[in-house]
Amino acid sequence: MTSRLFVWATVVVLLSAAGIKGSQAGLLSPVEGLILRPLAPVQRLLHAVAQPVADFVTNVGRYGDLRAENQRLRTENERLRSENAELQEARHEVQELETLLGVKEGFRQYQPVAARVVGRDPNHLRQVIAIDQGQDAGLREGMVVVGEGGSLVGRVEKVYGDYAFVRLITDHQSSVTALVEGSRVTGVVNGSAEGRLTLDLVPPDTNVAVNANVVTSNLGGNYPDALLIGRVSKVEDDPSRHFKAVQVEPALDFSSLEFVLVLTGFQPRPLGGG
């Protein structure tokens, strides 16, 4: 039996090594795409069924938090209603400004392709989602992916015919050049193993306000500028450090992401970064 196990282990190691090399060289992509094509609808169905259950279970576990959040939202709702009255008046002006700045046109020029989230990387070491659009819809590796509201989701990592994997900005290998709105302080937003975001390389003598929006910067060339990443949730000033420790709360809840937009018209400039 020992010799049989040894032969088996040798075969598995050799075949795995060949598979890994073949995958990295793209030799297996046609086969992978062929198998994934029929599986994508099944994944989509399973994901659609699982999401409400997961939301329920997650929310039950957070009952205390939800009560507090409910109270906070009531207060915020009241404040927003009063603000809404003022905003109605400013709406016309905003629409004009929006047209003037070309924000909408600017976004349209990136030719967004809508895709549904059908799964996630079963490997717990990474933050990657699977979507149901691929090469057939014009997707290519490196393309920028945003949420329905235009917040940054990540970048396309691997593409098949009608299936692709997107590495989220919360993945610990992701890094995005960013700036803090208002103060215009620049830094690099990095993901982490726990799926949190930090704004790194922020000099200690700069002013970073809690709750300020963090958006993409066009420095680095990998992302369109001004895509919302999140908001500053915590700033730690430690004189012994060379940089501030800034935590960023993502604008999106990545665990309940259902649809994304892939900016097929944006050409990243390969200057490094995630």
């Binding site: 088996w8 990387d121 070491l125 990474r126 290998q173």
Partner: protein, 168 residues
């Protein structure tokens, strides 16, 4: 047996990639394929795992962006651990299944991390491994009985071991 096992593995891998990630916390996301294989080794036969483990690994790799072969390699120790059941070193089969799951999970994550690292996906400071390992071990161990008992119920005549009666 394989007519049932192969689609079952695919179904479990699909659940692992499409259903469980909907839960935000890793404490609710067991590595179902690994646990199924570990329970299978003890409840039925570790020899059957010599075919099933590589298949489970292929399904996992196909459903994720990792190169095909990473999970195949990472699941290989489960087969070797499964053969420890033949030695009868633990008095309870259920405990043995939990042991195979726990040890298999640790090796699964370590091998995955090492292979991903060697493949160019650097795991900075092994933070990702540290964050995933403890929840993975605990949740996998907790789920093992759920898969072990149904599998044990199907084992009549499946095992060619020295033991004739189940122990748990």
């Amino acid at each position: 047996m394989y007519y049932v096992a192969v689609p079952l593995l695919l179904l479990v891998a699909l659940a692992q990639s499409a259903v469980l990630p909907a839960f935000a916390t890793p404490w609710l996301r067991p590595d179902l394929v690994l646990v199924l294989l570990a329970a299978w080794a003890v409840a039925r036969s570790p020899e059957e795992l010599m075919v099933l483990a590589p298949l489970g690994g292929v399904w996992l790799d196909l459903l994720g962006p990792a190169p095909v072969g990473v999970s195949v390699l990472a699941l290989a120790p489960v087969v070797l651990l499964g053969f420890l059941t033949e030695l009868g070193i633990v008095s309870s089969d259920l405990l043995m299944a939990v042991f195979v799951t726990v040890a298999g999970t640790v090796l699964f994550y370590l091998i995955q991390a090492a292979v991903l690292d060697l493949s160019g996906y650097s795991l900075a400071s092994l933070d990702a491994l540290r964050a995933a390992l403890l929840p993975g071990v605990l949740v996998n161990a907790a789920v093992t009985p759920v898969l072990y008992f149904p599998l044990r119920a199907t084992r009549s005549g499946a095992r060619s071991t020295l033991r004739s009666t189940p122990r748990f």
